[in-house]
């Protein structure tokens, strides 16, 4: 690492012990995760649960937040390629450049699914590095937590012990929750769904479920009438429900529901305001169980 960067980083470290760290995250799930490790930090999320993280404006307020960040964390794997590089360059902040140890990408710690040797845009908006929706890569939250701890300790050595303790607490809790979720979600094994986008690829892989078709004709291309028509010809026995996210247009899912009478499930894209990461997983698994396993007790209208 260049001496210039080292000097800048050390001056950030020196000043940070006096005041709370400013941490910029691209998506709310990383706000929840970082908060578990550094509860005293000011964590700002660039997007909300209602926004599609592919389509975000590199707006002035985000550049201003990026300028002040001591550390930044994003999903990576080109999920934020349409706006994050603009924020990095425009902020003039060395701490958030890709070369800095304080710029962290969660997908660097994840064994990526759906990586491609050959990517062509006729295949839609797909990423050669793999599916970037790693907030549902449940088992990889353990190595992500380790890396977050390490980077926080590097940035703020005075509080290294606190970060270590918080990280261990997070991972111990997460391991318990993993075991609990896997037991609870056993009835979901082998369930098949039609999904809007490959948002839950990691979740379904982990729970032994499968998404057999997408409402989008190609990744990132909005559902078209002709494509939805073709989905009505799917074998009704081949899937159990239609899944979409809270930030997505619900009309295509509802239309298909009327045509083929399969239930729709709206799942969160990320944590809700004030929700922790494990609470979001609880919610997702409960939603899936309620529709796919216990439809009789369903309270949905």
């Amino acid at each position: 690492m260049a001496t210039g960067v080292a000097i800048v980083s050390s001056s950030i470290m020196a000043s940070s012990s006096a005041m709370a760290l400013n941490i910029f995250v691209c998506e709310p799930e990383w706000q929840a995760l970082v908060h578990s490790h550094a509860p005293d930090a000011n964590i700002y999320s660039a997007t909300t649960a209602k926004q599609d993280p592919h389509y975000v404006q590199a707006r002035p307020s985000l550049i201003a937040k990026m300028r002040q960040a001591d550390m930044a964390m994003c999903s990576g794997s080109e999920l934020e390629v349409g706006w994050l590089p603009m924020l990095q360059v425009r902020s003039g902040n060395p701490a958030v450049q890709d070369s800095a140890p304080t710029m962290l990408y969660a997908s660097d710690m994840v064994g990526m699914l759906d990586t491609h040797d050959h990517v062509d845009r006729s295949m839609g908006d797909i990423h050669a590095h793999g599916n970037p929706h790693v907030q549902f890569a449940a088992e990889y939250m353990i190595p992500i937590s380790r890396e977050v701890t390490k980077r926080l300790q590097l940035l703020d050595p005075d509080n290294a012990h606190t970060y270590m303790r918080n990280g261990m607490k997070f991972r111990a809790n997460w391991r318990n929750k993993l075991a609990e979720w896997e037991t609870k979600a056993e009835p979901l094994q082998g369930k098949n769904v039609v999904g809007y986008h490959a948002t839950y690829r990691y979740l379904f892989d982990w729970l032994d479920m499968a998404q057999i078709a997408d409402l989008e004709p190609k990744p990132g291309i909005s559902p078209t009438t002709s494509h939805l028509q073709s989905l009505t010809k799917l074998d009704p026995a081949s899937f159990d429900a239609i899944v979409y996210s809270s930030h997505q247009d619900q009309r295509p899912a509802n239309w298909l529901n009327q045509q083929i009478n399969k239930p729709t499930i709206q799942l969160p894209l990320t944590v809700a305001e004030g929700q922790s990461l494990d609470q979001m997983y609880d919610q997702v698994i409960d939603e899936l169980l309620r529709t796919l396993v216990n439809p009789d007790t369903s309270t949905r209208s």
Binding site: A2, V81, P94, D98
Partner: protein, 378 residues
């Protein structure tokens, strides 16, 4: 399904990053722009009939941990000639302290709102008449820039540039550093759903004032020879710009609206010795207001109105002959996006030009990109 063992193994193997750089290096992108046009807008680079617009080849990458570099070449075809233009070739610092960044080489000036944005991101076929008149559509030049972003929640950016000014020169042998600019940008969110940016710009042009006019030969008359310089120049160009963007809950995918407006004022246009001549230009102003509404992920529509004052001047033996002119342009466009990377646009413009003639211009255009697709500015 022994998940516990898997997670333990994963935890120990994957503590170090798998790929440090999640973006490919270097990024190479191509912009294809073609059109069919009936009629012509004043000071425009697009002629009648079939033609190619701004065909771009861009390459950019981090050079190392301290510098970023970018190269943009533009290929333009006019009749039988094909021109290769170097629009950008710059390096920029990444790790300066205090929110500073320095750029050197050839680049698009930060003056105004649209100027530093690449043409393929525009919502209309042409830049507004004010840009075509005062900045040669988009002003790029050789020089240096320094920017500083303040560490405040209100976005405050202050920038200065020193540029050669050769495209903006109206004298034969002017200063080597002809143009200086200073810009101030402010911006913030009104709410989760809407954001704004306000800018003030000043451009000092040491070689902008016209001191001599030839017989019927002033540098103004560029209508048909597609010069890339400004149509009129002066000593000082002032600019103010405002942009407001809105999307429900800040989710820009399904629906959004952009309102943009800019005002420019040029002074110090001709030498004092001409100030008593009839219609000798003192100040010239230009502005536009545009609104673009995206009503579905694939469709958007927009309206724009703009005016730009200019003049014509030529010597008649021992006396001068000045004519004040004003371009007025109203545009309506509708665009279909085949994906994030392809756009087909139809635009109708009602043009009222200097000689008070109105003209209807219709353009059907595609702008498509392949390869790397850089992040867009606000």
């Amino acid at each position: 399904m022994n998940k516990k063992l898997v997670s333990l193994a994963v935890g120990s193997i994957l503590v170090s990053p798998v790929f440090a750089d999640t973006l490919s290096n270097p990024q190479i992108g191509v912009v294809l722009d073609g059109y069919y046009q009936d009629g012509q807008r004043n000071n425009s680079e697009r002629g009648e009939g079939f033609g190619l617009g701004h065909t771009e080849l861009n390459m950019s990458a981090n050079i190392d941990d301290k510098f970023y570099g970018s190269l943009t070449t533009v290929i333009e075809a006019h009749d039988d000639e094909t021109e290769l233009l170097l629009e950008e070739a710059f390096i920029e610092t990444l790790t300066m302290p205090y929110g500073l960044s320095i750029r050197g080489g050839r680049f698009l000036s930060d003056f105004g709102y649209l100027n530093n944005q690449h043409m393929h991101t525009d919502s209309f076929v042409e830049r507004p008449a004010a840009y075509r008149t005062f900045l040669g559509s988009h002003y790029y030049d050789d020089g240096v820039r320094a920017n500083i972003v303040l560490p405040t929640d209100l976005y405050v950016k202050f920038g200065v540039e020193a540029l050669s000014g050769s495209k903006m020169s109206s004298v034969d042998d002017g200063s080597d550093v002809g143009v200086y600019t200073t810009t101030l940008k402010l911006g913030d969110d009104f709410s989760e759903s809407s954001s704004w940016q306000f800018g003030l710009s000043y451009l000092r042009n040491e070689n902008g004032k016209v001191c001599e006019f030839g017989d019927h030969d002033h540098g103004h008359d560029h209508d048909h020879d597609h010069s890339h310089g400004a149509a009129v120049t002066g000593s000082n160009l002032y600019g103010a710009d405002f942009v407001w963007k809105w999307a429900p809950n800040g989710n820009y995918k399904y629906q959004n609206f952009t309102l943009a407006a800019e005002y420019m004022l040029l002074d110090g246009i001709v030498d004092d010795k001409y100030k008593n001549d009839a219609e000798s230009p003192d100040t010239l102003a230009g502005y536009y207001v545009s609104g673009v509404y995206r009503f579905s992920p694939s469709w958007s529509a927009g309206l724009r109105y703009g005016e730009a004052e200019s003049y014509d001047g030529h010597a008649h033996g021992d006396h001068m002959h000045f004519t004040a002119m004003n371009d007025k342009e109203a545009d309506a466009m509708i665009a279909w996006d085949s994906s994030h990377f392809g756009t087909v646009r139809a635009q109708y413009s009602r043009v009222e030009n200097q000689s008070k003639e109105t003209d209807n211009v219709f353009t059907l255009q595609y702008v498509m990109t392949f390869g790397a697709h850089g992040a867009h500015a606000f």
